[in-house]
């Protein structure tokens, strides 16, 4: 079973003005689609064709750079689209909010640290909120690596990810990654982040 581009749960324009329709369309139909296509090519005729994406992530140390890069690209973008949505933003609630407050001091402090992880990632990559056992951690990864990979420095379940490849923000924000990361909070789908948090 070849991997497929998952359906986007909203229109390209749905995250305006924070993320513009043109960025969404190119990011989803070109970049994400290319990762899916390249992943399928990279695993064609191997046992990994039958495995889940999670399985592949957990074994990237044994696989080619093409599988690591494109498998990661597919996983990361799939997560990214679902942790954003129209009419979202605000703050987390319930157990997740409590865990964030306990770990980082406050939601504001969490946002500050997460933004810092995104700002200090030099080159291309991702900022993450990760569940490691029962703990929350903030980390960042280069290129299309992620915390699901066996090679990751901080391994765990990613709950929230911000793409800081320039393609994620350059058409609207150019060199101003800080403005993109500030706008990101207006589109975060905390219900989905919480759903992932409760996953066992």
């Amino acid at each position: 079973m070849a991997f497929e581009l998952p359906k986007l749960g909203y229109d390209y324009a749905a995250l305006e003005p924070h993320i513009d329709a043109r960025t969404m369309e190119i990011h989803y139909t070109k970049h994400h689609q290319a990762y899916v296509n390249n992943l399928n090519t990279a695993i064609a005729g191997t046992e990994w064709e039958q495995k889940s994406l999670e399985d592949i992530m957990a074994n990237v140390s044994k696989l080619s750079a093409a599988v690591r890069n494109n498998g990661g690209g597919h996983y990361n973008h799939t997560l990214y689209w679902t942790v954003m949505g129209p009419n979202k933003g605000g703050s987390p609630k319930g157990d997740l909010l409590e865990a964030i407050n306990q770990t980082f001091g406050s939601f504001d402090k969490f946002k500050e640290l997460f933004t810092q992880a995104g700002m200090t990632r030099f080159g291309s990559g991702w900022a993450w909120l990760v569940k490691v056992g029962n703990e929350l951690k903030i980390t960042s990864t280069p290129n299309q690596d992620n915390p699901m990979m066996d090679i990751a420095e901080v391994k765990g379940l990613p709950l929230l990810g911000a793409d800081v490849w320039e393609h994620a923000y350059y058409l609207k924000y150019q060199n101003r990654r800080n403005e993109y990361l500030a706008a990101f909070w207006n589109v975060v789908n905390w219900d989905e982040v919480e759903r992932r948090f409760k996953r066992t």
């Binding site: 291309s124 393609h167 350059y170």
Partner: protein, 191 residues
């Protein structure tokens, strides 16, 4: 003496339609400037306070390396362009390219492939190695071949900021356009 953004040897719109004025304005005016500013903020009080960029590229790591190398890389990149050619190598460099790669066309093909297969942000380079031979190398992020003892001759920036406003995801189109703005007199002098 703080580092300064070197002057661009042509107008910001001089490379159009291959590289737009908007791209130059951001790439040179914002990104390159930011690396200069960051470096000037990072080095006071360190052992690199009076160092050259080349020294920092060879010896530093972390933020000082990243910003020093990015200042150097961008200066080298922007200086390789001119609005009016020559668009092919000449003299000794032409001979060396033909000897190493078979032809200029074959060299372009290999260099383009190197730039297209670099995953993430970085630079493709044509260098003269320690043995004086030509070689194509890839460097991630701020990477610079001086660090491994090579002499850089030519570079192509494949950070997305170098082409996204003009070409978006189409890095191959940017690479095609790139050959139309190179000044091989400048590159030949480096050889």
């Amino acid at each position: 003496m703080p580092f300064e953004l070197p002057k661009l040897p042509y107008a910001a719109d001089a490379l159009q339609p291959h590289i737009s004025k908007q791209t130059i304005d951001f790439h040179y005016g914002k990104h390159h400037q930011a690396y200069v500013n960051n470096l000037n903020n990072l080095i006071p009080g360190t052992r690199f306070e009076n160092a050259t960029l080349e020294q920092m590229i060879r010896e530093a790591d972390g933020g000082i390396f990243n910003n020093a190398a990015q200042v150097w890389n961008h200066t080298f990149y922007f200086e390789s362009f001119s609005p009016a050619g020559p668009r092919e190598p000449n003299d000794a460099l032409a001979t060396a390219i033909n000897e190493t790669f078979g032809s200029f066309a074959a060299f372009k093909e290999q260099f383009t492939k190197s730039a297209l297969t670099l995953f993430g942000s970085g630079w493709a380079w044509l260098v003269k190695n320690r043995e004086g031979k030509l070689e194509i190398v890839q460097e991630s992020n701020a990477g610079n071949p001086l660090k491994s003892g090579h002499t850089p001759l030519l570079t192509c920036d494949v950070w997305e900021h170098a082409y996204y406003l003009d070409y978006q995801n189409k890095r191959p189109d940017y690479l095609l356009a790139y050959w139309n703005v190179l000044d091989w007199d400048v590159i030949g002098k480096r050889f």
